[in-house]
């Protein structure tokens, strides 16, 4: 099978469109549809057309080489760009793969056998019409595939999984007297909590909070310490079992050279609820 002039032209055009689409501010889905063939089929198809301009390759082999060579060319292009010290970003990728496709198409067109070597137009044989039914079946099949894909991506009901809550206490990297205390609910329903903060054995924060599923509260505290080794402990209780520690975190003050004074938090400096 000889690659037709039309096939080569369409490949070059698609390569160009793909390169442009990669750089255009399009929705990612549309970009994917336009661009993915560049790395999965177009560059390989163009290269195959350039390497095998005559009838020496059948359609199956041509499609096989289009797919595998496209991936191979992408890998080798990536290695080459990396070796040349060029960052593997959208612009270099688009220029390289589109450029390769266009060059290969130009070579393929140049190497194409003269028109008189092409076979005469295929005569349609009687009784071999495709009909509408196969196209409809194909469309149905594609529709069912999309439905399957959407179906498996539907998240499950929260009652299926065991919920949980995260509690954390993280010192600021630059100022250990500033603490970030966070609670995030992954419970199935709105949960009432009691949160306590104990600094050097003294309860300095004791507050109630209710979090909806997926809600998070992050509070920044300024805690002045009196000595090295002072411990800060945060505990979380649920209203369902107020006597049982539900979550617990703790940290030890690493240095003595932080703010002295009463070991009580100055209150929330900043509270974020998301």
């Amino acid at each position: 099978m000889i690659p037709s002039r039309r096939a080569i032209t369409v490949t070059a055009a698609l390569g160009l469109i793909a390169g442009a689409a990669a750089l255009a501010p399009l929705p990612s889905g549309l970009r994917l549809v336009l661009v993915a063939p560049l790395a999965l089929a177009l560059s390989g198809y163009a290269l195959t057309a350039a390497l095998f301009p005559g009838r020496s390759l059948d359609l199956a082999a041509r499609w096989l080489l289009a797919g595998t060579l496209s991936i191979a060319v992408t890998i080798i292009a990536g290695l080459s760009l990396n070796t040349a010290g060029i960052r593997l970003e959208t612009l270099p990728w688009a220029l390289t793969l589109s450029g390769l496709t266009l060059v290969a198409c130009a070579v393929a067109e140049r190497r194409r056998p003269a028109p008189d070597a092409e076979p005469v137009a295929r005569v349609r044989q009687p009784g071999r019409r495709r009909g509408v039914a196969p196209a409809l079946m194909g469309a149905f099949a594609l529709g069912i595939l999309v439905v399957s894909m959407v179906l498996v991506r539907v998240p499950l009901s929260s009652s299926v999984a065991q919920g949980y809550t995260s509690l954390w206490l993280v010192p600021d990297a630059n100022d250990p007297s500033r603490l970030a205390l966070g609670v995030e609910s992954h419970e199935a329903s709105t949960t009432d909590y009691r949160l306590t903060l104990v600094v050097e054995g003294r309860r300095t924060v004791d507050r109630s909070l209710a979090l909806m599923p997926g809600e998070r509260v992050e509070v920044d505290y300024l805690v002045p310490f009196t000595r090295t080794g002072a411990t800060i402990q945060a505990r979380l209780y649920t209203d369902d079992a107020p006597g049982r520690v539900y979550r617990s975190v703790r940290m030890t003050v690493p240095r003595a050279d932080i703010n002295g004074g009463t070991p009580s938090p100055e209150g929330p400096l900043d509270e974020k609820r998301t």
Partner: protein, 679 residues
């Protein structure tokens, strides 16, 4: 704007089915009316074959194929051969049936995630709805060559979609998360050869990740979406590549299609070979190299030979940068082809030159770019051989088959089906041996395929050795190519004695069904065979299991690049989602001991110090040490959730010592700061 985003999302979802669509496009081209082409030969070289076999059977190989037996030697046949237009209808109809099968599989996955009954039965039903009609049609004599290729491409895409539907939210198989990290690192840094703390060798074979990163960067999609497309394309390609190879050496499109079909149902292929993992891409490229090498040997004229050489060298280059073992295998196969060619009295095939190119390129890569490869593979081989010796001598207990790492046992019928499947393929290979022997000089690849088939059962035995089973598992992806060929070659032996037309038609689809089901049963425990709950709805938002949330918490609150010890599953999540330097297992300074045994003492401090650990993630569930099943929610009220074992409290709380800080607590998962110990 919202509408544009909505359309974009819909397009993105549709694009996940792009692989199937691509296969459909190939299908449409292949089954176009009146298309009957010679296989890679020059114009006029081929003569038209009967429509039932396609032209290839007469144009390429002058010898008689077992699949070219006279009609009455196989099954009774009535009426004239079907025309090409029928092929288009058949392909569309089977495509529709296959998509219904996939819908049934999707329903089974959704039921499985919610812990409802019938999920497993529906899964098997869906799989068989996909497979059996395709197998029946492919085994029959009527389809044209183009239709056979189209059906194989579609079937390969559908089988791949079974895996895609299994984990629709992200990569979940253990190797996938490791490669996901590499690809995301390429996107972030803009350069190759980053670091990977869990499997360092993967970072120096970045072929798969480069291709995925290219698509992700160009299209602005996630590595997950890009990776699915790359692997999907590769898996469709291997079906076509094997068909073309088998067809050439067997001289029959039907033989080629049957052999390729058998490969598509090979044990472990369904999930393992469809992973976002370097071997999943390298093996299809390897099959394309073998096709290119064979076509090159048959090429007429210098230009054509040169073109095939360029193709083979480009593909070898990509393989060398993608997967160590596949690149070595390509070199070995090429050199073995040279030997068998010489034994058959053929010269000038060019296999030797390609073998040398592959050997030289992979050797140079291993020395200059990936020096850790030899240590990595050496460790695996020494561990495998030691394990085999220990198991054979009885000094270590043999591995319990049909039991998951978390101790879950399979129902009694499963081992029976799996053993029957193995016995059938072994028997079929044995039946084909006399024919393979008679054909040994017909094509230099035939003796190699027979050898691979003979080696396959031996590698299956490795599954009994505790540290060797994974080697046997990985080898099966290569060796089963030989088994597929031998099973197809055995076809006439099995079919000839059958007088019943129905039996004659049913036997191959039945065999494929048993091999597929047996392969899935023997490779995947019930807990992971079907999809598990990963994302659940919480009012207007969604959530994921503790491990995934904790991994992202480390990235957001502690910053990336910390050295964190964790159980196997969570280490992978920390690597991929948390962008941390995760450490796990026994090869990383005995992290498993650190996490599994109380109390905290000098030995622990030594491990922390030796690994320069910043943090440790403790999970009280033992399933977190299972890198296949350890990522998911336990389903409320289910037996499996209630039976999930946990560590003793003294293990879970061993890091509650004065020199640690307990920074994060989500119930099962706790994260401790160890920096006051390690510094």
């Amino acid at each position: 704007m919202t509408a544009a985003v909505g359309v974009g999302r819909l397009l993105k979802r549709t694009a996940i089915a792009l692989v199937a669509l691509q296969a459909m496009v190939v299908a449409a081209k292949m089954v176009a009316p009146g298309r009957s082409e010679p296989v890679g030969v020059s114009p006029g070289a081929g003569t038209r074959a009967p429509a039932g076999e396609g032209a290839a059977s007469t144009s390429v190989a002058p010898h008689r194929s077992p699949y070219e037996l006279a009609p009455d030697e196989l099954a009774p046949r009535t009426g004239p051969p079907r025309a090409g237009g029928d092929g288009w209808r058949w392909t569309a109809a089977l495509g529709l049936v296959g998509s219904v099968g996939l819908l049934v599989v999707a329903i089974s996955y959704q039921l499985s995630r919610s812990g409802r009954g019938w999920a497993e039965a529906l899964f098997w039903a869906g799989l068989l709805i996909v497979l059996v009609p395709f197998a029946t049609r492919l085994a029959s004599r009527t389809p044209s060559r183009g239709e056979r290729i189209a059906l194989l491409a579609l079937l390969a895409a559908y089988m791949y979609l079974v895996k895609v539907l299994h984990d629709p939210f992200g990569f979940m198989f253990s190797d996938e998360l490791i490669h996901q990290r590499n690809a995301e690192e390429i996107l972030r840094s803009g350069s190759l050869f980053g670091e990977n703390s869990l499997l360092p060798v993967t970072a120096v074979y970045p072929g798969l990740e480069t291709a995925a990163a290219a698509i992700a960067s160009l299209a602005g999609v996630s590595v997950f979406t890009a990776g699915l497309l790359v692997v999907g394309s590769a898996r469709v390609a291997i079906a076509v590549a094997l068909f073309l190879v088998f067809e050439r050496i067997g001289g029959s499109a039907r033989l080629g299609a049957v052999a390729s079909l058998v490969y598509l149902v090979s044990p472990n292929l369904l999930f393992f070979s469809y992973q976002f993992s370097y071997e999943s891409l390298a093996l299809p490229l390897g099959a394309a190299v073998v096709f290119a090498a064979i076509a090159r040997a048959d090429a007429r004229g210098r230009h054509e030979r040169l073109a095939w050489t360029v193709v083979a060298v480009l593909l070898i280059g990509a393989i060398v940068a993608t997967h160590h073992l596949t690149s070595y295998s390509v070199a070995v196969v090429m050199l073995a082809l040279l030997v068998t060619s010489l034994l058959a009295g053929r010269r000038g095939s060019g296999f030797g030159a390609l073998g040398l190119v592959a050997a030289l390129a992979s050797g140079l890569w291993a020395v200059l770019v990936a020096p850790e490869t030899l240590t990595y593979l050496g460790d695996i081989f020494s561990r495998t051989s030691q394990s085999v010796v220990d198991t054979a001598s009885g000094s270590s207990a043999s591995r319990a088959l049909f039991r998951s790492p978390s101790g879950e046992s399979a129902p009694a019928w499963e081992p029976i089906v799996a053993i029957v499947a193995t016995a059938l393929t072994t028997l079929a290979s044995a039946l084909a041996l006399p024919r393979a022997w008679r054909w040994r000089h017909r094509h230099p690849l035939i003796p190699l395929l027979a050898l691979a088939a003979l080696g396959y059962p031996a590698f299956l035995l490795l599954r009994f050795a505790s540290s060797a089973w994974e080697t046997g598992n990985r080898a099966s992806a290569f060796l089963f190519i030989g088994v597929a060929w031998m099973v197809a070659l055995a076809g006439p032996h099995v079919l000839l004695p059958l007088r019943s037309r129905l039996l004659g038609r049913a036997i191959l689809p039945a065999l494929c069904a048993v091999v597929l089901v047996g392969g899935v049963l023997s490779s995947w425990s019930p807990s992971v065979r079907l999809s598990q709950p990963f994302r659940v709805s919480l009012g207007g938002t969604t959530t994921e299991p503790e491990g995934a949330v904790a991994a992202r918490w480390t990235r957001d609150q502690l910053g990336p690049g910390n050295r964190i010890a964790a159980p196997a599953a969570e280490a992978r999540l920390l690597l991929a989602e948390g962008r941390q330097t995760a450490l796990t297992g026994s090869s990383n300074g005995n992290i498993n001991v650190l996490l599994s045994f109380p109390p905290f003492g000098p030995a622990e401090e030594e491990v922390i110090d030796a690994n320069d650990l910043d943090f440790v993630l403790v999970d009280r569930r033992t399933i977190a040490f299972d890198n296949i099943a350890g990522y998911f929610f336990g389903i409320v009220g289910s037996r499996s959730a209630q039976a999930r074992p946990t560590f003793a409290p003294e293990v879970v709380r061993k890091f509650d010592v004065p020199r640690t800080d307990r920074l994060y607590d989500s119930g099962d998962v706790t994260i401790y700061d160890l920096r006051r110990i390690s510094r």
